[in-house]
């Protein structure tokens, strides 16, 4: 019963947050200096035409009404038309979204598979009292901007070792295997610094548990160090990592925008960059809302999963 309440509460909060995002996205569109009618008409601009177009687009209606119309259109898939491509935004996004989703998904998989065991291993070493300079190396890796890393990867593995051909993008609609193979170096680029981040977080979270009183209790029971680590520290230490992974999703998204540029991958990120350059607002608006929704929904599921792993999460906070 309590779980159901919790989930309902979370869903309400999810919807509210999504609405808030949509409001922000809508108003962003409203406050642009110089209105888009002018830029849509370009050289064909005349007062009458502009007025006619405003009427046609419904710009003369009160703002909340326009918001509702916009929201309804947006949800039903009508996201307006790109100023630059003169194409429906929905079509452009439908074409690019799978690319970015694949990129993000493969990166996330790498992050989860590699970073958690790595972090656990760091913590285990700490548990055994070994000084680690790996930590400094980790810090160093985290400090490399992804586009620099991407260029280095292209240089070493593409230009020198010739493991792949930079710039030879394979469309996912033609050859899905080739497409994924092409994505691999890019996903590694996105993943590496996040792997360091998550590994570090995992380590810290576990190390915090090492000093906990219940570990002392377990030790007084005569449990072996390995058992203490596996049965007590591991689970307590890993639960916060799940929440952290939820936040990493947003970072991966940002990372993919840059990496698509570095590796010449025509996904949402590149489209966004080009659109920002051209101030093609309908596209920017749609992509941002998409990305926001994705981040928020992922974190919603993270919260739900967390609830089932950690029995301490209840609906409200107790007394101070």
């Amino acid at each position: 019963m309590k779980s159901v309440l919790y989930i309902i509460r979370k869903i309400v909060s999810l919807i509210l947050t999504l609405l808030l995002v949509s409001v922000i996205a809508f108003f962003v569109y409203e406050i642009i200096p110089g209105d888009s009618v002018t830029s849509m008409l370009g050289t064909e601009y005349t007062e009458e035409r502009a007025e006619a177009l405003r009427e046609e687009l419904g710009y003369n209606k009160p703002i909340y009404e326009r918001y509702l119309i916009w929201l309804e259109n947006f949800v039903t898939g009508d996201m307006g038309e790109s100023v630059n491509y003169k194409m429906p935004v929905a079509d452009i996004i439908a074409d690019k979204l799978p690319v970015t989703l694949w990129l993000g998904l493969i990166s996330m998989l790498q992050i989860i598979i590699i970073s958690i065991p790595l972090g656990v291993w760091f913590a285990w070493r700490e548990h055994k009292g070994k000084g680690i300079f790996i930590e400094y190396f980790n810090q160093f890796v985290m400090s490399i901007p992804s586009f620099f890393l991407g260029i280095i990867i292209i240089y070493i593995f593409g230009n020198i070792l010739k493991l792949f051909t930079p710039g030879q993008y394979v469309d996912y609609k033609e050859n899905i295997v080739g497409f994924i193979l092409y994505l691999i170096p890019a996903t590694i680029t996105v993943a590496i610094s996040k792997i360091s981040m998550v590994a570090k977080f995992t380590r810290n979270s576990m190390v915090e548990q090492l000093q906990a009183d219940y570990v002392r209790t377990a030790r007084s029971k005569g449990a072996s160090e390995l058992r203490i680590f596996l049965h007590h520290i591991l689970r307590n230490g890993l639960t916060p990592v799940i929440t952290f992974l939820g936040m990493v999703v947003a970072e991966v998204m940002a990372g993919s925008i840059i990496v698509e540029q570095v590796f010449n991958i025509p996904g949402l990120g590149r489209t966004l960059v080009v659109a920002v350059g051209n101030r093609d607002l309908p596209i920017v608006q749609a992509i941002i809302v998409y990305m926001a929704a994705l981040v928020i929904i992922v974190n919603f599921f993270v919260d739900i999963v967390y609830k089932f792993i950690d029995p301490r999460i209840t609906i409200g906070m107790g007394r101070e």
């Binding site: 009292g129 219940y214 007084s220 301490r312 906070m317």
Partner: protein
């Protein structure tokens, strides 16, 4: 049965325990008493083999003729219950499973047998709905219940020796008594030898056969309970026994003048999910000028919340509080958090005078010098930070702060319960002196009835 012989211990270069001898016989309860830093807990950790890294030991600890210091792995013939029941259990494991772990590690019993044994044990520590509790997580249990789980865990495999390290300190007084009774019962029933570690001779009086008094890593006195309590020889023991304020005060009985503070029909509540939860209702009493009023009640009754409501820093109450007083002050339980950690004592003490904006710099300096001597501190303390003072000294600063802000009414919220017993007496004496000299009204909050009875004119229970 347990012999600690010529035992010393160092961590790095610091001598923690110096040449102690303790014997525990079969079925006996031996209490080790001392203040913080006396080495009592470290002694216990050595017996269970949980010493911190960097420990160097000398001497012997023998259990039934076998050396405990040379043992490779704890076979759980010695078990331990720690002070903090809140954190000593794994938050993600069910209570029963945590007890089960002991049996898994040290016995060959099957699942069913283990379960039955645990349920029996849980009933034995007076957890009535044992089967339900088996499946509860620690956060769903109260402090007293968790401590019973800890005891059940420690007793489940019939240890030869059970060590209890301040098992009741973190608990409410009435729960303390229940736990003590359970420990006594188990001692009789199972004939388990026990070492009971405490800072409080009064608790120990009720349970121990023998008492060992430790101070600064050494044993200053040991003997049977009656010897130590009735005819203490060492002055430190006497100090511990007499750790009560000496100052005798005149009891005020007449309530003829009008009350300073009137509290009528006050309900205390808090919000949970925007829902009002009332946890104490219809509180009704007056505070009269010049008296020391004791405020007692179980934990969770809202003693502190009520005090804060009176002072105007807690708005979560309904009812009427009428104050006929200009300035109030509060002396808190935890002296460390009651002083701004990044400011010097001089800054902290000048603040009430600066805020009044009617003193020059010299006047402020003169005044804080006068007051700091009054509360028994020196001028050399001016340039220190709170963390560089002892608990007692910090509490003196708090009292000085109250005096400097010209408070007519002071709430002293468990002002001594975080302090060592010998320091407690000094601080209580200071409070009494200050009260007498300045005619300040004090509301004294405590869970310790003995202290309250000793220093208060009237006692109110909420």
């Amino acid at each position: 049965m347990l012999n600690i012989k010529n035992f010393s211990m160092k961590i790095g270069n610091k001598q923690i325990i110096e040449n102690i001898n303790i014997d525990v016989n079969d079925g006996e309860i031996v209490a080790i008493v001392g203040e913080s830093g006396s080495g009592k807990t470290m002694t216990a950790l050595n017996v269970v083999g949980l010493t911190p890294p960097g420990t160097v030991v000398e001497g012997e600890i023998m259990l039934d003729g076998e050396s405990l210091l040379e043992r490779k792995k704890n076979d759980y013939s010695v078990s331990i219950v720690f002070q903090e029941p809140m954190t000593s259990l794994n938050p993600l494991m069910k209570a029963g499973e945590q007890i089960d772990e002991v049996l898994k590690l040290h016995t060959e019993l099957g699942r069913k047998e283990r379960y039955n044994k645990i349920i029996k044990m849980l009933k034995n520590v007076e957890l009535i709905r044992a089967k339900e509790i088996y499946n509860k997580y620690p956060h769903e249990l109260s402090g007293g219940m968790r401590q019973r789980i800890m005891i059940a865990m420690a007793m489940i495999n019939n240890p030869k020796l059970l060590i209890l390290d301040e098992p009741t300190t973190a608990l409410d007084p009435n729960v303390q008594e229940q736990i003590i009774e359970i420990i006594k019962k188990l001692n009789k029933q199972e004939k388990t030898s026990m070492i009971f570690i405490s800072h409080d001779l009064n608790i120990v009086k009720n349970i121990a056969n023998k008492i060992v008094v430790m101070n600064e890593g050494r044993i200053v006195e040991s003997g049977t309970k009656d010897e130590v309590v009735r005819t203490p020889k060492h002055e430190y023991t006497i100090k511990l026994l007499n750790a009560m304020p000496k100052g005798k005060k005149m009891r005020r009985t007449s309530n003829d003048d009008s009350p300073m503070i009137m509290i009528s029909d006050v309900d205390l509540y808090y919000y949970e999910n925007r829902k009002k939860n009332i946890y104490n209702t219809s509180i009704d009493f007056n505070v009269y000028r010049g008296e020391i009023l004791g405020l007692v009640g179980r934990s969770g009754a809202g003693k502190t919340s009520l005090a804060k409501a009176i002072l105007g820093i807690n708005k979560n109450y309904s009812g009427k509080i009428i104050k006929n007083v200009n300035r109030c002050a509060m002396v808190f339980q935890d002296p460390l958090s009651s002083l701004n950690p990044v400011r010097t004592i001089r800054w902290i003490l000048s603040e009430p005078l600066k805020v009044q904006k009617k003193y020059t710099k010299e006047e402020i300096n003169m005044e804080i010098k006068r007051i700091i001597n009054e509360v028994g501190l020196e001028e050399e303390h001016f340039d220190r930070y709170p963390s560089e003072l002892s608990g007692g000294q910090r509490q003196r600063v708090c009292i000085a702060l109250a005096l400097l802000s010209e408070a007519e009414f002071i709430v002293a919220d468990e002002p001594v319960s975080a302090l060592d017993v010998t320091v407690q007496a000094q601080i209580l004496d200071l409070l009494l002196n200050v009260q007498k000299e300045y005619g300040i009204t004090i509301m004294f909050i405590s869970h310790d009835l003995r202290v309250v009875e000793k220093i208060c004119d009237r006692i109110i229970e909420i």
